[in-house]
Symmetry: C2
Subunit: 342 residues, 2 copies
Amino acid sequence: MQKITIKDIARECNVSLSTVSLVLNNNPRISEATRAKVQESVRRHNYQPNNNARGLASRSSLAVSVVVPHLGHVFADVYFGEIISGIYDQAADDGYKVMLDIANEKFLSTKEYLGLLRSRKADGMLFIGANITDEFPMEFQESAYPFLLVNHFYPKTSLNYLAMDYRESAHKAVEHLVGLGHRHIGLVRGTNTHTGIEFAEAFEDYCIELGIDPQHLHTVDGGDDWDLESGYAATQQLMQKSKKITAIMAGNDRMAIGAISYLDKKGIQIPGDISVMGVDDIHSAAFSSPSLTTIWHDLYELGKQSFKRLLALYKKEITTCQERLPVTLIVRDSTGPVSVIE
Amino acid sequence: MQKITIKDIARECNVSLSTVSLVLNNNPRISEATRAKVQESVRRHNYQPNNNARGLASRSSLAVSVVVPHLGHVFADVYFGEIISGIYDQAADDGYKVMLDIANEKFLSTKEYLGLLRSRKADGMLFIGANITDEFPMEFQESAYPFLLVNHFYPKTSLNYLAMDYRESAHKAVEHLVGLGHRHIGLVRGTNTHTGIEFAEAFEDYCIELGIDPQHLHTVDGGDDWDLESGYAATQQLMQKSKKITAIMAGNDRMAIGAISYLDKKGIQIPGDISVMGVDDIHSAAFSSPSLTTIWHDLYELGKQSFKRLLALYKKEITTCQERLPVTLIVRDSTGPVSVIE
DNA sequence: GGTTTACATTAAAAGGCTTTACCATGCAGA
DNA sequence: TCTGCATGGTAAAGCCTTTTAATGTAAACC
């Protein structure tokens, strides 16, 4: 328990502190022989460099802050779990720790998001889950601190972000549905995120571009929850708007599953009568009945890449990041050709 | 951006470094006048002490590691969200940061749980969500590092824990149901946690103690998922086991809601024909139909208290912690007196 | 008036690592 | 033989606080 330090290792190996430090940091200047000797000693003593000393000397904390919104059910969403797992794994690979922060009242009012960086508790900050109304990220526009929005963006700002390509998602979805012959399409959209809006707009635009009569395009708001209930209720609305709809596109899988459950209850065949599509490809999408056709958003990879971008920003390898990650169409059983009887 | 340090503050205020430090740490030895002067300067410059320097000097990291299991859906559970929120808020109050760790393969195989503490990246560790098969906590039995299991325990070990009082939960539930006249009772239990087992055993024991015929007590395994589906399936089993059951106790609310959905589907009246109870009092318990009678486990408070205990262990204010938190019976509409016609 | 006490402040020693500039040494090329 | 240059290693400064023992000063005591 008496803490062992770099000094102890150095003494035992008959080398200087610097040498041990260089070995620890994989500096190639040290010969293989010395390196091996030091590493062996380190292993034998279970030596772990003191993180604070390291951070102090190297002027970095080797930690990033991951900020999640203060929703009661923030974690009640596979969404966050996947992204955080990705961030975590990549951070671990790069020797970084992940610090969790919740954007609650105190966090915002005390401007802790700045304090964290000022005090070097974190080298940078990732923000997952920006509602259209979130204000604090704006303060990072002029700031030199590394800050990155994960799967969100604010139009007309210089804020860094890495997000899924919602525009491409919309295109792939439209292509798939229109390709199956659907001409009367319902869209269930979320309205509280810029990505959601982007998706809905792109979806509508591309439908029209492919020749769908705007009159045959029916959009309803799924609300802010992106939940089964939202999808259920929105589908009910859609059904009242038009009897001719043969395909329903939901802004995420959970709303899509909610849509399925409504249609199922009403005895409507999927995809015989109506096709249903989602976005994300959450685990349960493959297990709904029928299994859900969706646009796969690789959120785990998004997490990993987000961390990488943040680290690159921190190291000044890049100075800006406003990127999109590709998406994949996953065809399952919830979509099919429109039935011949028009 | 040119980092400002304690030295700058000291110079500007014409005091020594020590004075500034003492002010920062609310040491009462400093006069009001000096204190005010320093604080003003600190505020004006947005000065935040360097966390690494602070940690190095004070031999602590001011961070704790919160370890969650590596389940795909770890966060897909209000359970974790509530506890983590509690931990986070209390930690923030005490000036601590929360570091997130995931007990994945790498974390376990590289024994990072020890490395974190050795390297002083964290002052202590909280582990949420111990499956009966988790092995790594055992290594903390002889270790001097502060370690606390949150809402779990391992029988016959000296591992520190803070958990809800599942025994009391069982007692309150039994009292409630038996008090309503129920004599044929079904129990849906989870089998992969020691707390779940404890609850089930206590429930059965106390039923018998209150005079229930063991023959009239029917227990089925809800499996490891503690999910709606588990509750649904388990209830189906129960119904096959005995036609006389008038009350069903589920190990958690989600299984209880699953039970309700099964009974509902079968046209069985709740609580007219059968009463249903859960444990936890998750948000949706109040909104199920009928609203769910349950034992409230204040998980947010559990999170807060867990952090407090860990900090106390770290500061050696206590040397051990094997405590329970009280629970509360919440009577709603899913339970009622057994119907008179026997 | 001299001595305690109490209070407010400070100097200086850690704390454990990274990093830069510099020092040997050995060897190839001239 | 001498110069030049890798190569491998080291000394020492620096990172920014906390903390302890010491100092100075003013008020309180006998």
